[in-house]
C-alpha cells in the first residue's frame, strides 16, 4: 500500500490509499493511537507545504506575493499531493505497527521457518529495553541511597555515569553465562522446528487480499511509470 501511495503519479494513488488506511483505522477503532504518528509527520508536512507552495519552479499562477516570495497554485497543488503521499505512507506503516503484535509476528516468522536463534535474539532485544529501563530505575535508587547526587550541577551528574551505567552493564554481562546455561538446560539447542504455540489462522481471504495488493501494486506502478495511468 505504501508503494502504491508513493509510486503512482497524480492524485489517485495517495488519495485512495489514504482512504483505505483511514477506513481500516476507523474499523479497528485506532483513531486516537494514530495521533502521535500524525504529529510525527507534521514537521515534514509543514516544510513540504512551505517549500512547494513558495518555491515550485516555473510556476506562474500566483496566489499571493510576499516580497520576493510568491505562492503559486501549482506549487500548492504539488504540495498537497506530496503531503498526501507522505501521510498515506506514514500512516500505513503506523497501521502495521499498531495492528501487529510483536509476539504474533515473531511466532509466525518462526512458523514459516526463521531459525529459533534469530527469533530469540530479536524477541530478547525487544524485551530488553523495558527490562533494562526498570533495572536502571532500581540502580538509580540504590546509588542515590548512597549519596549519589542526581540533581546537582552537570559535572556532578557526569560523575554519576559510571555508578549508574556500571551496574547495568556489569550485571548484564555477568548474567550471560548463567542465562546461556539456563537456555541449554531447557534444550534450546535441540535440532528441528519448535512447536508453534499459537498457529496464526491464515484465512483464505487474507491470503487472497495480500496477493491482490501485491499484484495491484505492481500493475499500477508499471502503468504509472509507463505513462499510461488512466486517472489523474
Amino acid at each position: 500500500m505504501a508503494a502504491i501511495a508513493f509510486g503512482v503519479r497524480g492524485w489517485t494513488g495517495p488519495l485512495s490509499m489514504l482512504a483505505v488506511v483511514l477506513a481500516v483505522v476507523l474499523a479497528a477503532r485506532l483513531g486516537r493511537s494514530l495521533t502521535p504518528y500524525v504529529l510525527a509527520t507534521l514537521p515534514i508536512v509543514i516544510s513540504i507545504l512551505l517549500v512547494n507552495t513558495f518555491f515550485y519552479p516555473s510556476a506562474t499562477d500566483v496566489i499571493v506575493a510576499l516580497g520576493p516570495l510568491a505562492a503559486t497554485w501549482t506549487g500548492l497543488a504539488q504540495a498537497l499531493q506530496a503531503t498526501l503521499r507522505v501521510e498515506a505512507f506514514a500512516l500505513s506503516v503506523a497501521l502495521l505497527g499498531l495492528t501487529t503484535s510483536t509476539d504474533d509476528l515473531l511466532d509466525d516468522l518462526e512458523h514459516r521457518g526463521v531459525g529459533r536463534r534469530a527469533i530469540f535474539v530479536i524477541g530478547s532485544a525487544i524485551r530488553t529495553i523495558p527490562r533494562m529501563a526498570e533495572r536502571a530505575g532500581e540502580i538509580v535508587d540504590a546509588q542515590r541511597a548512597r549519596g549519589l547526587d542526581t540533581e546537582g550541577s552537570v559535572w556532578r551528574r557526569v560523575r554519576g555515569v559510571v555508578p549508574l551505567a556500571g551496574p547495568l552493564i556489569l550485571s548484564a554481562l555477568s548474567e550471560v553465562e548463567e542465562r546461556t546455561m539456563a537456555l541449554e538446560a531447557r534444550a534450546f539447542s535441540a535440532p528441528g522446528r519448535r512447536t508453534t504455540l499459537r498457529p496464526l489462522a491464515d484465512r483464505r481471504w487474507e491470503r487472497v487480499l495480500r496477493w491482490a495488493l501485491v499484484v495491484a501494486a505492481v500493475a499500477l506502478l508499471s502503468l504509472s511509470v509507463a505513462g499510461r495511468f488512466p486517472l489523474p
Binding site: 533495572r135 532500581e138 540502580i139 535508587d141 540504590a142 546509588q143 542515590r144 541511597a145 548512597r146 549519596g147 549519589l148 547526587d149 542526581t150 540533581e151 546537582g152 559510571v162 555508578p163 549508574l164 551505567a165 556500571g166 551496574p167 556489569l170 550485571s171 555477568s174
Partner: protein
C-alpha cells in the same frame, strides 16, 4: 523476655524516626501505605515483617526520601523530611537494598565500599578508616582488592551491606539481609548488628526470617495491606493470641514459640526463652 528486649529497657531515648499518619499511593493509583504511625527511638533495633505487598519496602523507601509520603508527615531526628534531597537524607539514613547487583560498579571491593562515604564528603583518611572498619565488620577485609564479581552472591550481599555501614549513618536500614546466606554469613550479620547497636545506631531490618527477627530485635512491626497490624516486642508478637494476625500476613511463628504454646509455657519466641521457661517450670515443680 528475649535478650534484646532486656537491653532495650535500659536505654536513654532520643527520637530518631517518626511517622505520623503516613500514607502512600503510587502514581498508577495503587495504595501501598495507609495511616502508618510509628516512632522509633535512637538506638532501637526494629524488624519489619509481612507478606509480599504488605508495604514494607515502600515504607523504608520513605525514610531516605526515595519515595515521599502522599499523606502525613515523616521526621528524622525531629526534622521534617519534606524539602530535603535524597542525597542529604542519605547522611542520616543508610539503606541497603536486597539485590547487591543493582549497585555494584567498582573494580574492587574497596572502591565499592568507598563510594558512599566519598559521596558524603568525607576526607580521604576518614574514608580509608571507614572502609576498613566496614569490611572488617562483614568479614571481607581479606578481599579488599578482589573484583566484586569474583565473590559469590552471598558475599556480594555482605559487600552491599558494608557499603552502607561505611557511610556511618545514625540510622541503618537493611532489606532482607539474610536471604541467600549460609549459617556463617548469618552469624556475621548478627555480629554486625550487635556492633552497630553498641555504637548507638538505630537499626531497621526487613526480614521474613522469623527466627532471625526473634533473636536479634527488640521490636517487631508486622505489616499487612499497607497498614501496621502489630507493633510490639517479639514476646508479644509471637504469643499465641497474636498468631491469627501473623497468619493474615502469611507469617508463621517461630518453632520455639509453637512448642512453648503447646506446652503451656507462655510466649517463648526464641530457643533461649523456651529453655528458660521450661527450666523455671521444672525448678518450681
Amino acid at each position: 523476655m528475649t535478650l534484646p528486649e532486656a537491653t532495650a529497657a535500659t536505654r536513654p531515648t532520643t527520637e530518631a524516626v517518626r511517622l505520623e499518619s503516613v500514607g502512600f499511593v503510587y502514581s498508577d493509583g495503587t495504595r501501598a501505605l495507609l495511616d502508618v504511625n510509628l516512632a522509633i527511638a535512637a538506638g532501637e533495633r526494629v524488624a519489619i515483617a509481612g507478606e509480599n505487598g504488605s508495604g514494607k519496602s515502600t515504607l523504608v523507601r520513605q525514610l531516605n526520601g526515595l519515595l515521599r509520603p502522599t499523606e502525613g508527615r515523616l521526621a528524622l531526628f525531629g526534622q521534617d523530611t519534606k524539602r530535603r534531597h535524597v542525597a542529604e537524607l542519605a547522611r542520616v539514613v543508610g539503606l541497603a537494598f536486597q539485590n547487591p547487583d543493582r549497585q555494584i560498579f567498582a573494580g574492587s571491593v574497596r572502591a565499592e565500599v568507598a563510594f558512599g562515604p566519598r559521596n558524603l564528603g568525607r576526607s580521604g583518611v576518614e574514608v580509608d578508616r571507614l572502609v576498613e572498619e566496614a569490611l572488617e565488620s562483614v568479614g571481607l577485609a581479606a578481599e579488599s582488592w578482589t573484583n566484586p564479581y569474583d565473590l559469590g552472591y552471598s558475599r556480594r550481599k555482605l559487600l552491599a551491606l558494608a557499603s552502607v555501614v561505611a557511610m556511618d549513618t545514625p540510622v541503618v536500614v537493611v532489606d532482607e539481609p539474610t536471604t541467600g546466606q549460609d549459617a556463617p554469613g548469618i552469624g556475621r550479620i548478627r555480629a554486625l548488628i550487635d556492633l552497630l547497636s553498641a555504637k548507638g545506631r538505630t537499626i531497621i531490618a526487613i526480614s521474613h526470617d522469623m527466627r532471625f527477627v526473634a533473636e536479634n530485635f527488640e521490636r517487631v512491626v508486622v505489616m499487612g495491606g499497607g497498614r501496621v497490624l502489630l507493633d510490639a516486642t517479639p514476646s508479644e508478637v509471637f504469643a499465641e493470641s497474636a498468631w491469627p494476625v501473623l497468619d493474615s500476613t502469611s507469617l508463621t511463628p517461630t518453632y520455639p514459640a509453637l512448642v512453648g504454646a503447646r506446652l503451656g509455657l507462655g510466649s517463648t519466641p526464641t530457643d533461649a526463652s523456651f529453655v528458660e521457661a521450661l527450666a523455671a517450670r521444672q525448678a518450681s515443680s
